[in-house]
């Protein structure tokens, strides 16, 4: 009986990193979007916040696409 601790360790590391990174990224996207919306409501605009938010969401979407790729492959 041989337990593959390396594989278990990498599953732990990758899961932890991916989860926290994705959730953080997504939350940052919402922070940016929220800033932009607040600015719009005040009559101004926050182009940088909006661009940053969309970049964050795009990265999250890419992660989901990679997830689907992993399921199919």
């Amino acid at each position: 009986m041989k337990i593959d601790w390396a594989a278990l360790g990498s599953v732990f590391g990758v899961s932890l990193f991916a989860t926290v990174a994705l959730v953080a990224l997504f939350t940052l996207g919402m922070v940016g979007l929220s800033k932009h919306e607040a600015a719009t409501d005040a009559g101004g605009g926050a182009a940088l916040a909006r661009t940053g938010a969309y970049a964050c969401f795009a990265l999250c979407a890419a992660a989901v696409a990679y997830g689907i790729y992993l399921i199919i492959a």
Partner: protein, 419 residues
């Protein structure tokens, strides 16, 4: 394909029934948090999960042939052995559903295979080392890995997102949860529907209807995909309630953290060569997310019941399957008796479940379930299989308070007693 015998036909139908129970048992994994946080309406959630399960079933057939490989020696497997394994797995799935506890359908199936194989060919038919590395260790590791990841993710999203406006927050967490729940559903379809395809293929090979090493025929893929999707759409509302409401109270932030963690764990584990159970990962993620909020609590009494169910899954399914296998040694009479027992138990469990209906209308209600029912039923689960249905029937009748004691109240015990 010269002959599909009656027994083989029964085995195939039973495998599809198992697939169906697998679907409604595991809906909670993908959709419990999404439903309890209100990101999707219950019916919409199960419909989406069902479609993605169906799609997932067609996306790859890699898993389909690996279910029994390595764990049980394939030589000498008879259709009777597979049938016995399925009987144990189905009954365990239904019992855990009745008491509303998430447990691994894969473990139930493996337990059934092990029990039936041991009864049929002796202890030598099972690889003990594989059992530890593929079943026991992952069962312990999965909730820890997913729980830690979900806990940190929940902390992070609360910290970073504390200034996010309410409108953006509601919209965002909703979209995030739907996306991650979709991934979990898709992964479930590819994994679990294929397990049934693997079982049916194994039965066809064992019965001599297919050549060894054959790929699953198209009708097997289609019927397995449809069975799991139908089961998912039916929704295991009791388990959804436990996972979404019973273990901890989830806010959208936590639901998002939990689902993302579950998706990440399932995908990374199946791709890095250390497979972790979906159910265990999702339950762990929900608990971790519960701990990740300031003031968040996990109801450890519910969690403990769930852990007990996890521990019992393998031995209980194995015991039922072993007894079924021994009964079938007596020939056609035994097969008929096991079939009657299976159908009777299913009907009995369903009738008992009607006493306290949980469906899409009350799945997110706050009223706590009667602890007496669950505790009693858990106790009944540990009883040897021949008595399970009857004991569950009578004990539940004794503990359930007056409101349900209407005219139909007398019927549930009857089929159980007949079996």
């Amino acid at each position: 394909m010269e002959h599909i015998t009656l027994l083989l036909g029964i085995v195939i139908i039973t495998a599809l029934v198992f697939d169906f129970t697998n679907g409604f048992h595991d809906t909670a994994n993908a959709m419990a948090t999404t439903i309890s946080t209100g990101a999707l309406k219950p019916k919409t959630a199960v419909a989406m999960s069902a479609v993605l399960n169906l799609v997932g079933a067609f996306m790859s057939v890699e898993v389909a042939k690996t279910i029994s490989k390595g764990l049980v020696n394939e030589e000498g497997i008879q259709p009777e052995v597979i049938y016995a394994a399925l009987v144990g797995a189905i009954l365990w799935n239904l019992l855990t559903w009745l008491v509303g506890l998430p447990s691994s359908s894969s473990h139930a199936l493996m337990g059934g295979l092990i029990g039936a194989a041991v009864a049929s060919a002796g202890l030598g038919a099972v690889n003990g080392g594989t059992l530890v590395t593929k079943v026991l260790l992952p069962a312990v590791a999965a909730p820890i890995v997913a729980g830690v990841a979900a806990m940190f993710a929940a902390k992070v999203t609360y910290k970073l997102g504390r200034n996010v406006g309410e409108k953006t927050s509601a919209k965002g967490y909703r979209a995030g949860q739907i996306a991650s729940a979709g991934l979990v559903s898709l992964a479930h379809g590819t994994n679990d529907a294929q397990k049934t395809m693997g079982i049916i293929t194994l039965a066809l090979i064992a019965g001599g209807a297919l050549a060894p090493d054959a790929d699953p025929p198209v009708w097997v893929i289609v019927s397995a995909g449809v069975a799991i999707a139908l089961g998912t759409y039916l929704g295991g509302w009791r388990i959804i309630r436990t996972m979404g409401k019973g273990l901890t109270d989830l806010q959208p932030q936590q639901g998002f953290a939990a689902q993302t963690s579950a998706a990440a764990v399932i995908l990374s584990s199946s791709n890095l060569g250390f497979s972790l159970s979906t159910t265990h990962s999702c339950s762990g993620a929900v608990m971790g997310a519960g701990l990740g909020r300031k003031g968040g609590v996990v109801r450890w009494s519910t969690a403990t019941r769930m852990f007990v169910a996890w521990g019992l899954t393998l031995p209980a399914a194995a015991l039922v399957s072993a007894l079924a296998e021994l009964a079938m040694r007596t020939g056609d009479v035994g097969v008929a008796a096991v079939t009657v027992f299976l159908v009777g138990s299913c009907v009995a469990i369903w009738l008992v479940s009607r006493r306290q209906v949980v469906d899409h209308t009350n799945v997110t209600d706050d009223d706590a379930e009667d602890p007496g029912v669950v505790t009693t039923a858990i106790a009944a689960v540990a009883v040897p299989p021949a008595g399970v249905a009857a004991v569950a029937g009578t004990d539940l009748k004794a503990t359930i308070p007056a409101p349900v004691a209407h005219a139909a109240g007398e019927t549930p015990a009857a089929p159980a007693a007949a079996v």
